[in-house]
């Protein structure tokens, strides 16, 4: 059996037909096969998910995984990476999961420049709980909890991540598969905190296919090492207005990373305790 054949297991897939999650799964599979060729053995990869439709992805991959809690993808991934810096840790999260329930963790992981990759399956609606607004839903969104239309405006998560200190910030779209694959791979390779906001449609509760198809374009990445350019790109679309939507790696920067390289040589615990007792006076 080739590596490609057994990367996806035989677990029954329960995503809706047309769901953007299939594209992310396909792209990740291709990226992991390439990474394996390039020297990252697959047993050193750990996938972590939150809870929501996106999270089923970890069940479908024949890879190490931790199917965690709604909003808690990042702290679990933080623990795994801090405990063993040799592991490549990839987080899958939904927009409700990541930008509502678990937003504080996202900000702090970006602040720490923790060397993990966060992939947000951003369909701008809660799917598994059958259609409520999320922090990235547009103004006026008519969901089950907001039947009169959403009075809030969405969060520009790209601006938020830049402000928080993320060293790799990108946006891509599930219907631009080569772009999706390239951006995901770059994000995983990036040494530091990398965030990819993946626009995708929810086939059942918020199908924006035509709307996105007309507006997305691949932006230039020639100034992606410059923060002020990244901020300008982030402001081109505020997740609400009817404007062009840039896709691409908006910001990529090198700065100190967590976990630091530490020499935690194993010490004789008993003699450490004896020494501490000697000083306990």
């Amino acid at each position: 059996m080739s590596s490609e054949d057994n990367l996806i297991n035989s677990v029954q897939n329960t995503w809706c037909p047309g769901c953007g999650n299939f594209s992310i799964q396909h792209a990740i599979k291709a990226v992991i096969l390439e990474l394996e060729q390039e020297g990252i053995p697959k047993e050193k990869i750990v996938l972590v998910s939150g809870i929501g439709c996106h999270a089923k992805i970890v069940d479908y991959f024949n890879l190490n995984s931790f199917y965690s809690l709604h909003g808690r993808t990042i702290p679990v991934a933080t623990g795994i990476k801090m405990a063993n810096p040799d592991l490549t840790v990839i987080c899958f999260a939904g927009d409700g999961d990541l930008y509502a329930e678990g937003l504080d963790h996202l900000i702090h992981a970006a602040k720490r420049n923790l060397d993990i990759t966060v992939i947000c399956h951003n369909n701008r609606v809660y799917g598994l709980t059958t259609g409520q607004y999320t922090p990235t839903s547009p103004h006026g969104f008519s969901g089950k909890s907001t039947p009169d239309g959403l009075i809030e405006y969405p969060l520009n998560v790209i601006e938020l991540l830049l402000g928080a200190g993320a060293s790799f910030v990108a946006r891509t779209y599930t219907r631009r598969l080569p772009h999706l694959k390239r951006v995901l791979k770059e994000a995983i390779i990036h040494h530091g905190f990398s965030h990819v906001d993946v626009l995708q449609i929810c086939a059942t509760f918020f199908n924006q296919t035509a709307w996105y198809d007309e507006r997305v374009y691949e932006t230039s990445e020639s100034n992606s090492d410059r923060f002020e350019f990244a901020c300008k790109t982030a402001q081109q679309w505020n997740y609400n207005d009817d404007t062009k939507i840039p896709l691409g790696i908006f910001f990529r920067f090198t700065k100190p990373v967590l976990p630091e390289k530490k020499d935690l040589t194993s010490k004789d615990r008993i003699s450490v305790i004896k020494s501490l007792l000697d000083r306990a006076t």
Binding site: E43, S65, S68, G79, A83, D104, T281
Partner: protein, 553 residues
Amino acid sequence: MEVKIITEYSVLIGGKAGDGISQAGQLIASLFSELGYHVYQYIDYPSLIRGGHNFCIIRAAEKPIMAYRDGIDVILALDQTTIDLHQKKLRPNGTIIYDKKRVKDTGHALDIGDIIEKYHGIRIMGNTAIISAFCGFMGISWDITEQVFRRKLQKKTDTNIQIAQEAYSQISKSMNIGPSVNGKHLPLLSGNEWISLGLLAGGIDAYIAYPMTPSSGILHYLASVAHEAGIEVIHPESEIAVILIALGFSYAGKKTAVGTSGGGFCLMTEGLSLAGMAEIPIIIVLSQRAGPSTGLPTYSSQSDLLFACHAGQGEFPRWIASPATSEEAYAFSAEAVRIAWKFQVPAFILSDKSFSEGIFTGEINPDETKESFQSSPSFPYRRYEDTPNGISPILAPPYVHETIKYNSYTHDYQGITTEDPEMTVTMVQKRIRKTEQLLKYVDKPGAVHLGGKESAKIALLCWGSPRGVCSEVAEELGLRVVSPVVISPFPTEEFRKAMTGVDKIILVEESSTGQLNLITAREGYKMDHVILRYDGRPFAVEELLDQVTRCIP
């Protein structure tokens, strides 16, 4: 009847928050432990940084003690409030040593400001002056005084010593305290530090916590020794992050403990339930303070017992122990690590403010540390393999050709989400078998402390820190003390043995409802009297003695 005379001393030092009363108390405790006494120190302080009244009671005795008494031999007053509040506790032949410029009283006056000025010291060195005067008064030799001061005061040591010498010479020797008959100089640590040493002995690789009184002492102590001990100590953004980061560490094979108090533990409960479902080892130190909500942040309580027993949605096994001595804190904290990894369950150390922040001597032997638990997985690996005892071997990534899948959903053997009714039942029953195994493992000698007059028909029932005061009361009144150390799963057989022959039970607990009562009622025991306290303060021996006396014929 032969009357056994116990030589013991109680000292109270009080002042304003910011006067360094806590450190001053430790210095006095160190002097007594240097002389070979068993020492117990209680710290009382409000939740503020400056102003307010802080005091410590330091008690030294020839036998192990874990409580304070009302009668104070010497009061050291750095402010007037100390006199106003505590003078009534002074024994008839007791003495007050005070700062002349800040306090009006009759006793031994010391012009602290003057002494500090003479040696160009700073205000905080007033502690040095008053403690040194105390040493002179007690007849503690200058050699020992200087030795302890040099060891404990590592900043501006020479100025401190000059100030100490001046204060020492200004007071006349009125007592003659000698070395304790034990003659053994025992280590002196806070409850939080004894717990920390136990966690280290159990083999933790990491400690993760968000600051919260009264658990922060563990965070501070382990952070200060992290390099030396070779552990990671992390302070993340919230208690929610704390427990989930810890579960990530466990996934990667690293033994990890967390610590908090009630409010922080509320935030940890979703992670606790995840540990229950995904069968992830985790050690939780829960140090109680008076609630509900923010409550009394710096005062003690035992009102989170049932919360700890039942926290988290769903049903899953957990181990809870509540140590009452330094030796138990060390042994059971180490045991918590072994239990968590052997049974892949949450293991709790249930402490409280009195125990965590109290400072006391103890005697442990690190060479007796047990080996840590080793898992032996079979291949191809399945994380939730069904086994007769319900325990699936644990394996950490990376492992070539194997996938290691943890899951918060109901899952199959491999760790894949399932909603199949049969697999659901299989996994529920697997957790039930783990609970049964755990009970079998814990219900053994040591799980329930039996003390006092062991054959007495009247038993004082208690758990955790009040055992110290209960033991002294029981000794004076000839009562039995029964105190479960392991609380979940409840050691039924050991408890029954300890209660054999008891016909009257008096429960002592720092709560308003007597929570242990609900646990022992399940075992078929009914309390005859319940003595509760919920003002955040522990009982002094005399206070409890008075209440217990009223319950017995």
